[in-house]
């Protein structure tokens, strides 16, 4: 069950990001984007995530998995389609094998909610995009 390895990778990356930011006291939730074709079972992942968080700054954090449907685009006829499961990766319109995926393979940490104490006053992080 590689969901444990995946969960450990998620926890490791969030820990590193928290350490870089400094002053993080608790991570409350982690949002993951999991493509239909990523080969990961969200339920198994949630179970492993809880175990992987134990004893880290993520202890008790909620894992929110957002499933991303697989979509493909045909270069020959410009058709876009939902690939489904099991996926149909030949173009259903022209039958060509010239498709590319638009989505469905992602296994990505989207964002993280965390608490940071006011204790450590830090110089303001450069903010890449404010919205």
């Amino acid at each position: 069950m590689h969901e444990m390895s995946i969960a450990l990778a998620v926890v490791g990356q969030v820990e590193e990001a928290a350490a870089r930011a400094g002053g993080v006291t608790a991570v409350t939730s982690v949002r993951l984007k999991v493509g239909e074709l990523a080969g990961v079972v969200p339920d198994a992942l949630s179970f492993c995530f809880e175990l992987a968080c134990a004893g880290t700054v993520l202890e008790g954090a909620e894992l929110v998995t957002e499933s991303v449907p697989g979509r493909a685009h045909c270069a020959s006829c410009a058709d876009d389609w939902a690939v489904g499961m099991p996926p149909q990766l030949c173009c259903p319109v022209c039958g060509e094998a010239t498709a590319g995926l638009l989505s469905g393979r992602e296994l990505r940490i989207a964002d993280v909610h965390w608490e940071d104490g006011p204790a450590r006053e830090r110089t303001r992080e450069p903010i890449s995009e404010e919205r």
């Binding site: 820990e15 409350t28 990523a38 964002d111």
Partner: protein
């Protein structure tokens, strides 16, 4: 204070970076890695035994590393070919990762190895997600497993550069429908080559070695639809996705530069891996 941090990091970024580094390093040493995937008992070891022997007879320097949960049986079988073989016991882990492979190659992989065959743990789910730095990924299915295997394990078959059907000597007995199997492979991985083999009878002997040598010689490798970089008009969408904003001020954005890895915490955290070199 509560913050939402927009990380946007690929979960397997570390493994992918390690795999890329390993691929480049081995390419520099003239070694091409072939990653062999299948469900347990599909006949990876049996076919590999024959291909290693053919390589040795043909004077091609090859080596093999085989990963199993337990026992050194596969290494013993492969070592009969006379080429360098190493057994990796994963101690419960269901797949190899790039960093594990790199550590096992250190100090073992003989100089001048042209092809390194890696027999992954028998499992069609987990190993599919982990790039090992291979130039050629081969997925095996035996005729006894049913024609719908490619549909049940689309990630494994969808990312294959080559599909090998094994045990064709018993195809008739199990009424293997080759056309249906090929159609299912085509559905998840259009254009990938499917070769028919029997380690028992010798059908397709040398095909695996041949395809691997073609890649080692710089030949083109099939590009699976599933493995092509995802077309990016969605990338920007990531930046415009609205966050759930229950408590989103201040809203800090940390840019997620994923750095190259030497020692990933991941590898430190998995169960210990015991390795045994064989002569």
């Amino acid at each position: 204070m509560c913050r939402v941090v927009d990380l946007q990091q690929a979960v397997l970024a570390k493994n992918d970076a390690t795999a890329d580094a390993l691929r480049a390093e081995l390419a520099g040493r003239g070694t091409t890695v072939v990653n062999l995937l299948s469900s347990p008992g599909s006949g990876k070891t049996a076919l590999l035994e024959r291909e290693l022997l053919l390589a040795r007879e043909g004077g091609v320097p090859v080596a093999a590393l085989t990963a199993d949960l337990a026992t050194e049986n596969d290494a013993k079988r492969l070592a009969r070919s006379g080429v360098p073989v190493k057994q990796v016991l994963t101690d419960g882990l269901c797949h190899l990762e790039a960093g594990m492979l790199a550590r096992h190659l250190e100090g073992w992989l003989p100089d001048g190895t042209r092809l390194l065959f890696v027999e992954n743990v028998g499992n069609l789910v987990c190993p599919a997600s982990y790039d090992l730095g291979e130039a050629l990924r081969v997925v095996f299915a035996s005729v006894t497993e049913g024609e719908d295997k490619p549909l049940k394990y689309p990630t494994a078959f969808g990312l294959a550069h080559l599909v090998v059907v094994t045990k064709t000597d018993i195809a008739a007995a199990v009424e293997f429908d080759e056309a249906a199997f090929r159609a299912h492979v085509e559905q998840v991985n259009p254009g990938v080559e499917v070769v028919m083999t029997s380690a028992r009878r010798g059908e397709g002997a040398g095909a695996l070695l041949d395809r691997a040598m073609a890649v080692a010689d710089g030949g083109a490798v099939h590009a699976p639809v599933m493995g092509r970089p995802q077309n990016d008009h969605h990338h920007h969408e990531a930046a415009s996705e609205s966050h759930p904003q229950p408590h989103s001020q201040p809203h800090a954005h940390t840019q997620a530069a994923v750095r190259p890895v030497e020692s990933s915490r991941l590898f430190g955290a998995v169960p210990g891996v015991v390795a045994h070199s064989r002569p």
